[in-house]
């Protein structure tokens, strides 16, 4: 039925964008509320909430433990990214060979991804116990992987890498399978070595996939909570007290919501900046891969 009324005709497009508007409000409302609370002295249970400006931020910026946690978070993210992209790429290259049984291997590789991270973390907690399988395999006696200051963070990286490397592998494998074959055929005809082909063809063409995977993994690693909480709870001492775990302790255990939310706002800023940088890399590498 034709819409005769000009007002209705003008209103219809707005009606159609309403769901998007609601969605935006739904996403932004908690964020803006969190931003507001980070500027207050909000404590769970306190009767009055007072606006205190940037005081929470000044307090956390002057705290050595905050900077230590931020440093640990950055280090954890960087290390997990390097490990997982490296291993994921290697896995994708291996699984890109059409040999007998490769379909089974491709199916098995995603098993860790199907496991809830908390369950995987608890499983690794048992494996890494002083009388666990890992010590048996490595020949170490009563070594506490998760209970030693220097080993706890690397141990968490092992768990994180075990869970999430398959994600990188799957994305990069999909990328490898979608690459055009003609340049490869030409390179082989010209006598290019496998390393030469990988360096000059595969890697540049695969860059957009690598950057998009790095983007997802960076965001996820910066927010890692479940693995740490299920295994070390930030200990021993503060050796695995990443920013998000610290904020959890500040909020739900110590009731200092204002302080915890200011930490989370800083983490959001870090994630936002990192995402913008990686999206920039991804866009540039996509253009290069398409020869633009």
């Amino acid at each position: 039925m034709p819409i005769k009324n000009s007002f209705s005709r003008r209103a219809v497009p707005y009606f159609f964008v309403l769901p998007a508007l609601f969605l935006t409000i739904g996403i932004l409302y908690p964020f803006i509320l969190s931003l507001y609370y980070s500027l207050t002295d909000y404590r769970l249970g306190s009767a009055a909430i007072e606006f205190i400006g940037f005081k929470n931020y000044l307090v956390i910026f002057s705290s050595a433990s905050f900077w230590r946690s931020l440093g640990l978070t950055a280090g954890y993210t960087a290390a997990s990214l390097v490990l997982q992209i490296g291993l994921g790429l290697a896995g994708a290259l291996l699984l890109n060979n059409d040999v007998k049984g490769i379909q089974v291997a491709r199916s098995l590789i995603i098993l860790p991804l199907m496991m809830p991270p908390v369950v995987a973390a608890l499983m690794w907690k048992v494996i890494m116990a002083p009388n666990g399988v890992l010590n048996y395999l490595t020949g170490l006696v009563q070594f506490s992987w998760l209970g030693t200051n220097t080993a706890a963070l690397p141990s968490l990286l092992i768990i994180d890498t075990w869970i999430y490397t398959p994600f990188v592998t799957v994305i990069l494998l999909a990328g490898l399978r979608s690459l055009p074959q003609e340049p490869y055929e030409a390179a082989v005809l010209d006598g290019g070595s496998p390393w030469f082909i990988f360096r000059t063809l595969t890697l540049p063409l695969l860059k957009p996939f690598i950057f998009i995977t790095a983007l997802f993994r960076t965001i996820d690693s910066l927010k890692t909570f479940d693995i740490i909480y299920a295994t070390t709870k930030g200990g021993p001492g503060s050796s695995t007290m990443l920013l998000q775990v610290k904020a959890y302790f500040e909020s739900f255990r110590h009731y200092s919501m204002g302080s915890a939310l200011s930490m989370m706002m800083v983490l959001w800023l870090v994630i936002f900046v990192m995402s913008r940088v990686l999206v920039g890399f991804w866009a540039r590498s996509s253009r290069q891969a398409l020869g633009r």
Binding site: L44, G45, K125, P130, G147, G235, P236, G237, R253, Y255
Partner: protein
Amino acid sequence: MNKSFHVCICLVLSLTFSCGKGSDSVPSAVQIRTPQGAFNWEACKGQSLYISLNKHPYTEALILEIPEFERLTGIKVDYNILAEEEYFEKLVINLSTRSRNLDIFMTGPQLNWGYIDSGWVEPLDTFLGDKAYLPEDYGIEDFYPSLLAANRWNKIPGKSNLGRGNLWAVPIQVETYIIAYRKDWARKANVSAPQNYRDFYAFARELNRAEQKRGIIARGLGTWPTINTGFITGFSSYGCVDFDEDMKCRINSPRAVEFTRLWIKTIKDFGPSDWPNITWYDGKQKFSSGEFGMYPDCDFFAASYENPAKSNVVGRVAYALPPAGPENNISSNLWSWCLAINSSSPRKVASWLFLLWATSRDQLLATAIRGNMNPTRKSVWEDPEVRNITDNWVGYREVVDKNLNAYAAVQWTPQKAFIAVGDRWAKALQEIWSGKDAQRALDEAAAEIEKIVANAYKK
């Protein structure tokens, strides 16, 4: 249109606020006594209660009895049970958002301090002060006085304020801290239970030598429960306090440092190599499996150690009082699971009825027989059926009796930032275990703890 719109909004709002679960407990509408003056258990018939429970032997026993309460009162009871950490997280969210759906929750004196100060807990003296609300056969004097004292607080920080003010919760289980040790290992090593903390170190060493297994296991996670059991029991017996009367943190006093060094050295030398990850249930499980020589922790773990379905060490464990300090004092800490009423609950009388029923002698006896040790009523502890269960646990009744009647009290100083203080203190212990100098670690922790408390109480 405007008018009809407003009418609609009013209708929606009135429906929203009137369709709560059950109805408000208006005391004037509640006939807590029948015309003949008898206690009226059916005073809130038709209401519904929602109870939040922590996974615990008490809970497992309680839920079997709930249909009995529903028959007695005509009140429907719904509940959820969560593992301890998830339980407390959800509880804090429910209480802090002033949820009207939650009526009763499980808590403990130390955790309650934060909740009480925030106004989340209903003071029970409102009911206890009115004889009409107390059945004649309830017998509040049957509870151990130390447990009722642990649940009274006047909201003022400082140790002398504990035991004063309102009663905030009714205890349903109590644990004190003792030494459970392998008597077969001790016999082999020719040593007896340690009488003081120098002996304590030597005892762990000898157990270690006797079996070539680790001599001691203790909690080690970087959170307050690590402090709450064997550690603070020894710390207090040693004559140390967390805060002095001026609320100055004293965990770094020379004597406190000396005790902390000794405790950590014992664990470092003869304890588990993954001590910072040891929770209470890890400790209980590992001791029950026969891997460790002693576990200075909860007395009631005896129920697990002596249960053939859960333990490899049945009949091979002995129970001893915690060692005495340099002045020959023993001061065990205590923790007591309790039931409290959410101050935002609109069904407070029905909630009170549940508390009365759940903490009655009959109910506490029924839960004790099903494994809820230790009972909080003297008559239940002395009941022949409970005696029958506990008499075979070597030395158990004797140490629990002594602890409950003479040595056990809350050793923490009441103040609302209890969790933050306990967590920070436990982190310091982990740092010392990892090699940091004890004086430095405790100085830093004490300074931070004072800031935490000051921040919690700032105007």
